[in-house]
């Protein structure tokens, strides 16, 4: 089998230890070890993610901090009105998303929950699912879980959605007839032309992509990967991508949350 590129250790800001390699969860039969995408990147890129002063995603996080306490909507509230200090209220939240919301009876991604707070609790307009306000807020919230193990539930009320995501992961889409597994399970650590294939983990999302000069949302990445199989893709925020996100997140159970990451 393949081995990740190197045995570099990821420690952010000199003190947050990030687990980038862990035993695969037993429900993933195709992998023995899981690796963070960070392990497949060049050393110079890896370094950008080791220090928040060099991480270009932090500009968006700084904006999101201002946004956090900016009043918006008919109720005259900001996120801080209810959640107060983001560092305390959002500690560990990202590590367990997507998760079941009992009241709504649905699986919610972080973006869905944020928009629910905006429309229901603030009387504000929903943000574009993968727009910059949303990815900034996701990055800010995710950062509060950095170094904590991803621990997404896969059974109970989410079991059917998880199963749907698993089926999608192994579906060979498009004219190239490639599944997520074709590239990220069977061929991780190999090269497709210049691209060093990772396991397609999402513990680093939202990720700052140098190519886009901005934060990229999980569903955005999924959309690009499916498009690249010459398939009709799905939309960010669609029920299909929510299911796929739940499943892909669960493939990273045991890695640390490391968002916002830096990618080529």
């Amino acid at each position: 089998g393949a081995v990740a590129q190197d045995d570099h250790q990821l420690v952010t800001n000199g003190d947050i230890e990030i687990v980038t390699e862990a035993p695969a969860p037993d429900y993933i039969s195709g992998l023995r070890t899981i690796y963070s995408g960070w392990r497949f990147r060049d050393a110079s890129l890896q370094e950008m993610q080791m220090d928040d002063f060099e991480n270009p995603a932090i500009i968006a996080v700084d904006k999101a901090i201002v946004q956090w306490s900016t009043v918006d909507g008919t109720e005259g509230k900001s996120c801080a009105s209810c959640h107060e200090d983001v560092e305390q209220s959002m500690l560990g939240v990202r590590a367990v998303y997507p998760k079941w919301n009992e009241d709504a009876g649905e699986v919610r991604t972080l973006a869905m929950q944020i928009n629910d707070c905006r429309t229901e609790n603030m009387g504000a307009e929903a943000w574009k699912y993968d727009g910059s306000d949303m990815t900034g807020a996701e990055a800010l919230i995710s950062m509060q879980s950095r170094g904590m193990p991803v621990n997404v539930a896969i059974d109970g009320p989410v079991a059917d959605t998880w199963k749907q995501g698993e089926e999608m992961y192994y579906t060979r889409y498009g004219q190239l007839e490639l599944s997520c597994a074709s590239c990220h399970e069977e061929n991780y650590d190999n090269y497709i032309r210049a691209d060093h294939l990772s396991q397609g983990q999402i513990n680093g999302f939202p990720a700052f992509r140098l190519k886009n000069d901005g934060l990229v949302q999980t569903h955005n990445r999924f959309k690009g990967c499916i498009r690249d199989t010459r398939a009709e893709t799905y939309s960010p925020g669609s029920a299909e991508f929510v299911a796929l996100e739940l499943y892909v997140a669960s493939r990273g159970n045991g890695l640390s949350v490391e968002a916002p990451s830096v990618r080529p």
Partner: protein
């Protein structure tokens, strides 16, 4: 309609060696996945095949394969090196592999280059939008013949 006309023309002009193209849906593979007859009826051009294999916008075979004789940069390694491919496979087998590798290697990740339907969520090229089957094949009959002509030069 078009095909009928071409077929009639083919019969009439047989003496002047007019091309008799085999449409993607009419290709016949043997039980091991090989295709005996030329898809275009025109001999392949190895130099053109070399270009198809290297160019990102055409065959882009080097996305997955390494070929020492090609100058293309960043050759991938998802598939095996094609050096010496002609020592391992004859022309009809190579034609079968390029046209639809799944007839030779059932579960392979190698895409079928001469197939137009039977896809899951077929797209309109790389737009992410829906495409309508039959899709144009990834390579034309002549491009396949050109690639096969080049592959048959890969001897060690």
């Amino acid at each position: 309609m078009n095909r009928t006309l071409t077929a009639i023309a083919g019969v009439c002009l047989a003496t002047t060696a007019a091309a008799q193209e085999v449409a993607p849906l009419d290709v016949s593979f043997d039980e091991y996945g090989a295709i005996a007859a030329s898809l275009s009826g025109v001999p392949g051009d190895a130099a053109a095949g070399k270009e198809v294999m290297s160019e990102r916008s055409i065959g882009n075979c080097v996305a997955c394969h390494q070929v020492t004789a090609l100058e293309a940069t960043f050759q991938g390694n998802v598939g095996p090196s094609l050096d010496g491919a002609a020592d391992r496979w004859d022309e009809s087998q190579l034609r079968g592999i390029v046209a639809n590798a799944k007839m030779t290697f059932p579960e392979t990740v190698m895409p079928a280059f001469y197939k137009v339907n039977g896809y899951i969520r077929p797209g309109d090229a790389y737009t992410g939008k829906a495409g309508t089957e039959p899709l144009p094949p990834l390579l034309s009959a002549q491009q396949i013949e050109d690639v096969v002509a080049y592959l048959t030069t890969l001897k060690e």
